[in-house]
């Protein structure tokens, strides 16, 4: 069931060696639009939507880490919020009890998620398909329940009163536009590095794991090592994204590790376009906005998101970007051909 569902949302740009100009164009439009959105919101004196957009980008980072595993490597992580929440808690603790430095909190959170990713990876990547998905789900459940019951970490209330993070040069995470631009820059860097990574031998091995893991060993690559490396990398990206959350919202709670967050990240990836890298950022932006707007009308916004998810999977199984990219690529190719004549 799950395997066939995964096959239906197979990425649009799986071929690897073909330059995918369409995805770069969509990414350029996305980042320029995000920049324009930030400046317009700031110009009209808005804070609410600027903060919401920052949150959308933070969840976009989590979605990128899910896409790296699901879209590129063929591993469905149902507990990626584990590393997102871990990064958030570590960042909150550093900011509250050690030093309110943005870079220190981010660095320690990434280091902690790398370590947790290594431990979690050693357990989770032993299994494949549905079993991998369930083990990653189970690990997140266990850790979130432990935190939920640990009074020193605020138990069910979480940690509140996290001070604003000092970035340097007078910028703090309390400045709406400044922090939005910082988060946008960081997410852009992660997206750009991952896009470049896909054209390296390591990146291509991820596609090989997804396509035919058994064969990989017979061409000299240990698939276990590739999977562990990508699992740790994805944990670091999720942890880095999580580290930004308490800087924005001033608190963390065990809910950040709950299945709701992991599941939403997977939905964001599939709606945006599995395996496209830019799709998950777009999906997170649209759905975070939608959840907030619909949520202000009715508390049953999950129904709206659920229906949208069903509609996208039926009508555009490759997601928004996955559906748009081939069409755009064909147009770019045609124009390229015309220019050559």
């Amino acid at each position: 069931m799950l395997e066939s569902a995964l096959a239906r949302v197979a990425p649009a740009s799986a071929t690897g060696s073909r330059p995918n100009d369409a995805l770069r164009w969509i990414a350029a439009v996305f980042f320029v639009s995000a920049l324009a959105f930030g400046l317009i919101a700031w110009a009209v004196g808005d804070v609410f939507f600027l903060r919401l957009a920052t949150e959308a980008l933070i969840y976009g980072g989590l979605a990128l880490s899910v896409d790296l595993l699901l879209g590129r490597t063929g591993l469905l992580p149902l507990g990626q919020a584990l590393f997102f929440g871990l990064g958030a808690y570590v960042s909150a603790l550093v900011l509250k009890h050690w030093d309110a430095s943005f870079w220190l909190a981010l660095g320690v959170a990434i280091g902690a998620s790398a370590l947790a990713g290594l431990l979690g990876g050693l357990i989770a990547i032993r299994s494949k398909g549905v079993y991998f998905a369930l083990i990653s789900f189970g690990l997140a459940q266990v850790v979130s329940k432990v935190i939920y019951n640990t009074r020193e970490l605020g138990a069910s209330d979480g940690l509140i009163g996290v001070p604003a993070a000092q970035v340097g040069g007078g910028l703090t995470s309390a400045v709406p536009l400044g922090f939005f631009l910082l988060v946008l820059t960081l997410i852009f860097i992660v997206w750009a590095l991952l896009s470049l990574l896909m054209d390296t031998p390591f990146g291509r091995q991820l596609a090989a794991v997804r396509g035919n893991e058994q064969r990989l060993a017979f061409i000299g690559v240990d698939p276990w090592r590739v999977k562990l490396a990508v699992f740790v990398l994805a944990a670091m990206i999720a942890g880095a994204s999580g580290a930004l959350y308490p800087m924005l919202r001033g608190f963390v709670s065990p809910e950040l590790m709950f299945f709701q967050v992991s599941g939403n990240a997977v939905i964001n990836v599939i709606v945006g376009g599995t395996g496209t890298l830019i799709g998950p950022l777009l999906g997170s932006s649209l759905l975070t906005g939608l959840r907030s707007v619909v949520g202000s009308w009715t508390e049953h916004h999950h129904i709206a998101i659920g229906l949208l998810f069903v509609a996208v999977v039926i009508m555009a199984p490759r997601g928004l970007v996955g559906g748009l990219a081939p069409w755009l690529q064909a147009r770019l190719d045609r124009r390229g051909a015309k220019d050559r004549i």
């Binding site: 197979a10 799986a14 071929t15 690897g16 060696s17 073909r18 470049l196 990574l197 054209d199 390296t200 031998p201 390591f202 291509r204 091995q205 596609a207 090989a208 997804r210 396509g211 035919n212 058994q214 064969r215 060993a217 017979f218 061409i219 000299g220 690559v221 240990d222």
Partner: protein, 255 residues
Amino acid sequence: MSTDVLLQTRNLGVRFGALQAVDDVSFEARRGAITAVIGPNGAGKSTLFNLISGSLRPLTGQVMLDGQDITGQPPQRLLAAGLARSFQITNLFFELPVRENLRLAAQFVEPGPWWRGLRHVRTSRSAMQRVDELIAQFELAADADELAGFLSHGQQRRLEIAMALASRPRLLLLDEPTQGMSHADTEDTAQLIRSLVQDGLSILIVEHDVDLVMKLSDHVVVMHQGAKLSQGHPDVVRADPAVQAAYFGQEVQHA
């Protein structure tokens, strides 16, 4: 053990539940020669192949490559030791282009520090060169950018062998390379296998097509019910009454 022996199995065996799939098999494959393993369906040929190529771990016995014990090593280590294999059931990266399939396999010829894996693939000159060689050698140029899954069966079988060759192995294990091929394609593949041996490669082949094996091989090992029944030059094996009874007798009757 004489120095012209490249691969040697000693009392190799494995059992699946009550079935003794491979039973106490010892044989040698010589350097620069084509050694074939034949036998009726269920004789244990493919299992023997899997034991040698690291797909399965033997319960008993040893596999020696050039005097070095490689028993139970995982496939990626065997590749480093110079042993590569192709598969009976075409086993490619179907969603990737032909060129990318070969590039993944050829990456192995360019070892280096781990961070080499984080540079753009186009910087791997010797791997790219190896890909171009293989595309020319296996006549895949016209479809180099096609997804492997869209190739014809014959082309996929050729790509399957090219993938195994990409790492420049010393010993190539071919698992029914002409499976499902037309007569013409089978002839071409036989030619190709001969030319590989002339270039210095040693080959161990499992094959269903007895006529092909008898024409192609220098040495034949006959398996029957998991055990070695006979071995020797094709003519010697063909004349062996035990082989006649177990194998050729049946073939003639059916034909």
